[in-house]
Symmetry: C2
Subunit: 504 residues, 2 copies
């Protein structure tokens, strides 16, 4: 791996470029381990050193990516009659390079410094329900991120440019249309559910579930779904996440004594992320062909396993006996388990606690607000009221406090604008992919009910995971499903599923 300064002249520009990229990717992956450790293992007072270590690594990877030699090799490789596959890799490296090289180092540092100040301020503001304490930091982030977008491309809508940090190759216009279509269907559907008389078996999993037993259960679930323990591990983290590479993709979860479904679905969600990472080709480790496409596609994998597998009748046919073995006090039918797993929480204000339907309105609200913020159509001081108005309009509920309102999520404290939409886009994509998998795999539902998850894993590996960043988002979805990426499959799915559950 170590790159000698005396490169062989016989190596092609493409090969030399890839060697340079590998070093960058390895530095970033090292940063990923440090971040995992910080969230899972690090003792409380380790922060000052850890922050410096992580800053040093990200500054180095930025410098390595933006140095002139990288740009020169990129030019040379592009001019050197690349194969189709090489051309796809070069497209990815060109995008990474341009985005990094156009932003001055001191702006990168300013954004990083602004986050370091904004995060504790956000924590305090949320704890004290005092938006004023966070407002100046949000203001600063909006200003810095506008500058950032302008450096990358002064001629385009800055929000579009910011969105590309998370979803680099799906047109924002398409994303916007998809989200608008989903909103138009979900708002009245949720209203209907609120007015419906149907009582779901929501108390099928009420009780006390000790943490150790929950851990044993989610380990059962991971093993059942096919998580390869020789390339992963399960730990506890306050905010569950997954991270790693195809050689070592770890998941985390958290436990609440009164909520066994919470740890289970959070684990199945992270399993989906990890399975994607593990399906990237070993031989392309630390190059674009061995890296994930982007956040939307990543989220499609987690949501597919969480919602289309974990919340299905078929999964509960298979898994309910395992759960009842661990927790003999649970005595539910498969139908009751299915209903409990799919309850719509029409009075919930908190995104991370939302069900499969209302979730997307939480996202749409943030998406609309941050678009307006970046465009200058919404002032920071007016965010709380605009937030509450939208919750009232779309979900029929109004937060009493900003802690439960516009202060609930950390993303803006990091200066992340354009991140939220990828959550919903991923769910919508999951429905389209799962529908295609159902068409391709003989009796998929029956297989899931029998605890046979291998065909689905394999379908995802072949159609999504193995390609890494080879194809852009729409091409990847089209190759996997035969259709353009759109909301249709998702809307069919929710209308059919929730129509039946709530007699709509």
């Amino acid at each position: 791996m170590a790159q000698s300064s005396a490169e062989s002249d016989s190596e092609s520009a493409y090969d030399r470029l890839l060697q340079k990229y590998k070093r960058i990717a390895n530095v970033e992956n090292a940063g990923g381990i440090l971040s995992w450790d910080q969230q899972v293992m690090m003792p409380d007072e380790g922060t000052p050193a850890r922050s410096q270590q992580m800053s040093a690594l990200s500054a180095l990877s930025h410098e390595l990516l933006t140095d002139d030699e990288f740009g020169d090799l990129l030019d040379a490789a592009e001019a050197d009659d690349p194969t189709d596959e090489q051309a796809d890799v070069l497209r990815e490296l060109r995008r990474d390079y341009e985005r990094a090289a156009r932003v001055p180092n001191d702006l990168v540092e300013k954004i990083s410094a602004a986050s370091s100040e904004a995060i504790p301020a956000w924590k305090q503001a949320k704890a004290e329900d005092d938006f004023e304490k966070f407002a100046p930091h949000l203001e600063k982030h909006v200003e810095l991120k506008r500058q950032y977008a302008e450096h990358i491309d002064p001629d385009r809508d800055p929000y579009e440019v910011l969105f590309e940090d998370y979803e680099p190759c799906l047109p924002l216009e398409q994303a916007e249309e998809i989200l608008a279509e989903v909103r138009e269907v979900l708002v009245p559907m949720i209203e209907d559910i609120r007015e419906s008389d149907t009582d779901l078996a929501v108390d099928a999993f009420e009780g006390e579930f000790p943490e150790d037993d929950q851990e044993a259960l989610v380990r059962d679930a991971l093993t059942t779904l096919g998580y390869p323990w020789e390339r992963g591990r399960l730990d506890t983290a306050p905010h569950p996440f997954s991270s790693g590479t195809q050689f070592d993709a770890r998941v985390t979860t958290r436990y609440d004594d009164s909520d066994v479904l919470g740890s289970l679905f959070s684990t199945v969600h992270e399993f989906g992320h990890a399975l994607y990472t593990l399906g990237l080709p070993d031989e392309h480790y630390a190059t674009p062909l061995g890296e994930n496409r982007n956040l939307s596609v990543h989220e499609s994998q987690s949501r597919l396993w969480e919602n289309h597998v974990g919340r299905s009748r078929a999964f509960w046919q298979h898994f309910l006996p395992t759960l009842e073995d661990r927790f003999p006090e649970v005595d539910a039918t498969v139908e009751e388990a299915y209903e409990a797993a799919n309850q719509v929480y029409d009075d919930n204000l908190i995104r991370v606690e939302a069900d499969e339907l209302t979730y997307h309105l939480h996202i749409v609200i943030r998406f609309e607000l941050e678009r307006d913020l970046i465009a200058g159509d919404l002032a920071v001081e007016d965010v709380p009221e605009a937030w509450n108005d939208k919750y009232e309009e779309y979900l029929g509920i109004r937060p009493d406090t900003d802690s439960e309102g516009c202060l609930q999520d950390i993303h803006w404290a990091y200066g992340n604008f354009g991140y939220f939409p990828t959550y919903s886009l991923g769910s919508i994509m999951a429905a389209q992919l799962f529908s295609a998998a159902e068409a391709d795999i003989d009796d998929l539902d029956g297989k899931l009910a029998d605890g046979e998850f291998g065909d689905l894993r394999e379908w995802l590996r072949e159609n999504i995971h193995q390609h890494g960043r080879r194809y852009e988002t729409n091409d990847l979805v089209k190759q996997a499903t035969g259709e353009d990426f759109a909301a249709d499959a998702f809307l069919d799915y929710v209308e059919s599923k929730y129509g039946a559950l709530y007699d709509l």
Copy 2:
């Protein structure tokens, strides 16, 4: 932390140099986290990615240290009328820089590649008791390390140069005299012990000790000794070690159901290492004033706690009740516990299982052999016989197999020559430091017996830890003890302790 390329011209060369060094130290500390993770947390199949990540970080830190700008800033800072403290820091940076810059990158890579091949070969050779399988790798390492030493200084004994990788500022001649003096006393002393009729209470801790209970016990021990859990953690590793920084210094141990003293002393040993790291000044993190002096001094800290505290009567007066609470089947007097903790294993062939006395002969043997190897006075093929002859001469025992002989330790598979002596030098230094602490601290023995370890911790922090790399080894020892570093205190200690134990 992130270093902008547009440095302020008003910053002094010294400040800019220190900023550059901080980045290097942070990259190395990041590598330390990756290494800890690899040994403690990483799933089995994570190795291919981890190796690349660690190679990338070490290549980067080497390049950052050896780049021309570092050298130029060093020249400028040295010429810029440094304060005494700055001059001490510059002495350390100069040494680091010269040693790194004089060795060509491709030799560094060759040594690293040779290790990657030698380590699995050594494992196989050891498992199969087949020295021939390891011999060509050892040959290669000897050759490469001779070249390495010649690049650094062609005019000096190459072994002396190699020794300085681990103990950079103690003359080899002094180390050699100390080890020879120790050998001359220990060889006949161990012979006397072998012939002695004294029966120690060696079965005071015989029994079955479940791993969970052992872990609870070593956690008790760490808490009792004053380990700050908010800056550390305890885990399990196949080869116990400690690593980290003053903000986060972790220890590991291992458990053997039949050997409760093994996990306890291994933990107390690593506690000593961690306490040193934790005593480095926070404000000098990632600079030489906030880094440990070297391996000898580090080992003096671990051995002081392991041997002079953990194996003392006073410690057992305090700790035996805790152990008996955890393991009610143990029923020993303090004197019996003390004897069991200090048994001399005169028929043991394995260094890592050796007692406080025979240990040093294991080291002296390796030291004498590797000196001869590097000097060309011993051929690789003759190592097994030379090894066995020395064991017979110094310890009166002869290995039946090379697995229990010259293949037992991994160090040579890494190409580490000159490392072993620091283990003994550390123990010898520990005796000198502890003797000085006894003179300075009122009734230290009584305090240890009462479980009051604070005064000793504080003495070590003031006299050793807080100085980082400010002073060279002899100056550090002299300031702490008033005497030159020598074997006297160690020899007094073992003669008095083991003379009494074995009625010599």
